[in-house]
């Protein structure tokens, strides 16, 4: 590093670190303070380093001695999938709006077909898109989900109604061996758009159930990879 101060200051400057940390022996400190009195450049440097030294107690050496934590590799894919799912949903919504704006029975019928979401072909898998209705829910609560196959996994649109506004909802898919694969979270807001667009890395063809933890209650509905049958008859609330 090339020095940017006069040679006469060099030795004094190299003491500035210990000085601002309060570690300099009395004699050296007195000498340095005398130099600082007459050297504005060194004084400015000391003040700047003092500001850095004051931050040191905030840091925990046990933390910075370890390597920086790394975001899991699949997080980026999950984000891309969520954004892709939301973009597709927005696109459909715009198309639906456009269709309704046209008016007439044909447009209304097209919109209704989008809302049914029963066995529409997916974009990237051998299984069809599925609509899952959660049954046996407490009075006033409605939960539904649409699962759509993609090359990256499964896009999920979840509809919730009747839980307390502000409730944090965590969604996961369950695989063939009972493993849970997270699909993200959303917050239910009363009066707002209550359909959340999420995604999971688990393929729809391997998905056996979808679970939603809303507040402190978890609701699970089975998913039949072969098609949208039997989804209404056996879902359960899991103890949490």
């Amino acid at each position: 590093m090339k020095a940017e101060w006069p040679d006469s200051c060099r030795d004094w400057r190299q003491l500035l670190g210990a000085f601002v940390l309060g570690d300099l022996p009395t004699e050296e400190r007195a000498g340095l303070e005398a130099h600082l009195e007459g050297c504005p450049a060194c004084r400015t440097e000391a003040e700047s380093l003092d500001a850095v030294a004051r931050l040191l107690p905030l840091a925990d050496p046990d933390r910075f001695s370890r390597p920086a934590p790394q975001a899991p590799r699949e997080l980026g894919k999950r984000i891309a999938a969520t954004i892709d799912g939301e973009r597709r949903a927005n696109h459909r919504r715009r198309r639906r709006r456009f269709g309704l704006a046209l008016g007439g029975a044909a447009a209304a019928a097209a919109a209704a077909a989008v809302l049914v979401l029963a066995i529409l072909p997916g974009d990237g898998g051998g299984v069809p898109e599925q609509h899952v209705e959660f049954a046996a829910l407490p009075a006033g609560i409605k939960i539904g989900a649409t699962l759509e196959p993609h090359a990256y996994g499964t896009a999920i649109r979840v509809y919730v109604k009747g839980v307390r506004s502000g409730t944090l909802c965590r969604v996961y898919l369950r695989g063939p061996h009972g493993e849970r694969v997270p699909a993200g979270t959303f917050r239910y807001r009363w009066g707002e758009d209550s359909t959340a667009t999420l995604s999971s890395a688990l393929d729809l063809s391997r998905t056996r159930a979808i679970g939603i933890r809303a507040g402190n209650r978890t609701f699970v509905a089975p998913v039949d990879p072969a098609g949208p049958t039997a989804n209404r008859n056996s879902n359960q609330e899991e103890a949490t």
Partner: protein, 169 residues
Amino acid sequence: MPPGALSRERDVREAYAAHSGELYGFALRSLGDSGLAEEAVQETFVRAWRAGDRFDPQIGSLRTWLFAILRNVVIDLGRARAARPTVAEGGIEPTVEPLEETLLAWQVEEAMRRIGEDHRRVLVETHYRGRPYSEVAAELGVPEGTVKSRVYYGLRALRVVLEEMGYEG
């Protein structure tokens, strides 16, 4: 990056590649739970994509904008967690520091990781462990004056890294 460019998915991917490590590190430092930290980073990028049209590089860098979004997400997640009587992953209690202080602490820790090993070591031994400079010098096999100059250059290096990270003093 022109205004609104983050509304394209490709740019979100590039932004993720450039900034997700730091964002995740700060989220984990703030929330003390890897699952919540992942949620926070995911929500940050989704919000950034939704609001991509509003990003203006004339006002601030993409990194600064993403950190501002993450800060709000962390506050939301922190509030949600405060409403639940749970203990974070691995039994580690979440941090109780104010968020601004946590951000600063994370920046200093990250900066300490980035400075040279020689500089970090003398700062750890003399400042954090409180060991005499003479003892550290003997252990390293260098004159005591060298330990002092390494402390000086260590603080200077830390200042440079903090400035690169957006710290303005």
